[in-house]
Symmetry: C2
Subunit: 484 residues, 2 copies
């Protein structure tokens, strides 16, 4: 795996073919691995909705790591343009010393600690030399080559920086990244650090870090290039002042707080080497871990690389939060037996106290089509029952968590929550779910900023247009109050 | 061309091969046409920077109209999932009546009136029926098929709507589009309606229109689906209240105010039919118009289609704003002879009145690599000359317009403005250009929200780090004052 390691760190040699057949990474191997994971989650991988999930996930992993198979030279080649500079005595401009900055490039990468995508706002600067400049769009294309690998923020910044330095040969390069990583369900359960209203495009509730990397004139203490670069970033709202110093490389991924069993890495490696990955009749936790290791290998990476040793374990740990059996047992009983009805106190009360609303209940579900989270808020409106009892917010939160924390689709989640509330308070229920789908914004179409909304109406809400409008208005007031 | 016309309007038959060779649209024909345009602009199409522009533009046109060669069925096929609904008496949810909305999808399309890209925020809603839903990401993929054609907003909305209705067969579909079109230089010269600070991602100064299209339950007066859909859009900040009624389909593109010569369309068509496009020794205006018509034909469109008849004329008219000879003659004299020096009055004065700043001077240039506009603001800082004279803002605006309104690259624009100011006031000049590049955000990488910044420093600014910092701080204050 020495050659592979070299390939990773030398941007000049990035056409890696390890683990690839004619069609790129071994899709079939990855599909099998995903089936193991689905079985480990207690799911029937042949049920509708999951039948094509293995091929979808395999293709998405391949697409999301296409950077291993791209060459920086292919991108910048032919994109150099002669551009006059100035006599050095007079000043710095154009192709000699005239700093060029591209800000706010949205990228996505895969966290090497847990295999979940993370979101990046990338800012690049370079100082041309030799009377030539490079096409502006090439800077972000080069950055994307390294984002489309298993990464962690600082190495990503370093690799982009080195690749631009080596390919453009300018007087210096500076790379500044703002990165956001989704929280793990353990944290999400506390409801403290959840992503906020999805259409506000706020990244509140995400783990955030900022990293920088620079070469040449950006490193010189006497020059002001580095200061100028960061000032230009401030113009567009990015501040790298103190956060850079405060960030610790290995602590950023929330999965890093897990204790990975010492034996885990070796076990995985041995299983792989002996070809015994799928030989066990029962899908055990270690089979799932081995399956993830085989995915990493299929992508052309080395599962025994230091930073990746615990990754299969951590990814499986994440997935198991959405295990079917696990959560069914724990939460079903809770909902049926311990639901609390109480006098209405909080929430918006409308229509002569007939409709009660619980708004902005956060959730994080796992998209069953792509094995990626979708998260957002649930708004629940219901008519009071005759005894003027309400369900308390914590019961509704538990209900949302129960239906959210499994392999799901948003349409079903919306219906199931509505049905569950309706089964307790049967007059009328309306549920609106607003979400961001990581599968929509990080894969393929990369529709950053898009959000989804689904509605279910039951009982009185399904015939009473005014009631619907009143409840939507209640949501509108709260989301408007949050501000843009 | 009958079959072609049908293909355009029937989403079921969209695998158009008219005008295509094995590699898609006739790239070679388009390259030749772009060379004619470059010559018509008074440029040497063989000079560095322009040499590969024809192939770049041809490929971008092909990529930007790939929707002609995509089938909606290929996208939605296999993306249907069974999803239980509710008994209609109880309510609407899931696969039966549970409205699904995807908001804030960023798309780009080509204006059929002038061939410039326009920006779209697309919102889609549908009401599932028959106990099945479609994968959420497919909705935006289908929308993109129709965006990647020569379009105008209302037809785009109608085509997306019909295609979703025909392919998903739901109870109803609603499509709402917010569209933004860049102003033409005639308007830009007034400096009134220019795009603002590029990093604020504001669309102020663009021509805006909103359009809607709907089918099925969204059209029923008695149902509230349409109201609910628009309320959900309001949650994410999109308001379709009155703007929809106010918009007129054919007036939105600013090029529509041009008088297209009556004979123009016929001339183009005859030239095409007789194969005489490139036969003239001199690149006349009509040769340029014919060249653009040949591009439209190569894309698989019919240049004689009613909406496209004047398009070649309008596109050439737009391009000629960036003609080399034209503006050189007019503006060179102006700059050399009539520059106004006056007592300093406005602008930020720093360092004991040594540095004067003129900030946020708007510009719109034409990227010479892609024949697409880049636009933004120029900030100019300079040291007073000994006689305490300043250049007045209108002279600097004229200078920026002179260097901006031609085929350019941002690095050169920055240097040239610096050199021009330095030639008048020789102590020290610093220029910062902030821009959005349509080529970066509308083509290929579609990096929405990204912006560029370039710096040139001359004379005292190139050695005086404090002066640089002071000037950048002055910019910072003004951009901060504009607000996010």
């Amino acid at each position: 795996m020495g050659a592979l390691e070299e390939g990773r760190f030398d941007p000049e040699v990035s056409d890696i073919t390890v683990g690839e057949g004619a069609g790129g990474p071994a899709i079939g191997t990855m599909e099998n691995a995903v089936r193991v994971l689905l079985m480990g989650l207690g799911e029937d991988s042949e049920r509708e909705g999951l039948r094509k999930t293995p091929i979808r996930v395999a293709k998405a992993f391949r697409e999301g790591t296409r950077g291993y198979r791209q060459k920086v030279e292919d991108i910048v080649q032919g994109a150099f343009f002669p551009e006059a500079g100035l006599d050095n005595g007079i000043g710095q401009a154009g192709g000699a010393g005239g700093m060029v900055v591209v800000r706010d490039i949205n990228l996505f990468s895969y966290c090497e600690s847990c295999l979940l995508p993370f979101s990046i706002k990338c800012h690049l600067g370079y100082v041309p030399s030799g009377q030539r400049v490079v096409g502006l769009s090439k800077l972000s294309r080069v950055a994307d080559v390294f984002a489309k690998r298993l990464q962690e923020p600082q190495r990503l910044a370093d690799e982009i920086c080195q690749a631009l330095q080596n390919s453009i040969r300018p007087a210096g390069v500076s790379v500044a990244l703002q990165c956001w990583h989704i929280q793990f369900p353990e944290v999400l359960k506390c409801n403290m650090n959840l992503p906020r209203h999805p259409s506000r495009s706020s990244m509140q509730g995400w783990v955030h870090t900022s990293v920088c990397s620079s070469t040449g004139v950006f490193e010189q203490k006497k020059s002001s290039f580095s200061d100028d670069f960061h000032t230009l970033l401030q113009f567009s709202g990015a501040n790298f002042g103190l956060s850079n110093a405060a960030c610790s490389i290995h602590s950023w991924c929330p999965s890093r707080s897990l204790d990975v069993p010492e034996s885990n890495g070796h076990m995985v490696r041995n299983n792989l080497l002996n070809g015994r990955i799928f030989s066990r009749p029962v899908v055990s936790h270690s089979s799932m871990v081995a399956a993830v290791a085989s995915i990493i290998l299929s992508l052309g990476e080395d599962p025994s690389r230091k930073e990746l040793v615990g990754t299969p374990y951590r990814y499986v740990h994440w997935l198991m939060n959405f295990s079917r059996s696990n959560i069914d047992i724990r939460q079903n009983g809770f909902i049926l037996n311990t639901i609390n009805l109480h006098e209405s106190s909080n929430g918006y009360i409308h229509r002569e106290n007939e409709i009660n609303s619980e708004l902005n209940i956060p959730f994080c579900a796992q998209c069953e089509h792509h094995l990626l989270p979708f998260h957002g808020v649930v708004h629940i409106g219901y008519f009071h029952d005759e005894e003027k009892k309400d369900i308390d917010r914590s019961s509704l939160q538990a209900m949302v968590h129960f239906y959210g924390c499994k392999l799901q689709v948003q349409e079903r989640l919306t219906r199931q929550i509505a049905e569950a509330v309706y089964s307790v308070l049967g007059r009328g229920v309306m549920v609106v779910v607003e979400a961001n789908h990581i599968c929509m914004i990080s894969r393929g179409i990369e529709k950053v900023g898009s959000s989804t909304a689904t509605i279910a109406v039951m009982g009185q809400f399904s015939t009473d247009i005014t009631a619907k409008a009143l409840f939507l208005e209640a949501i509108s007031k709260v989301t408007a109050a949050v501000g843009p």
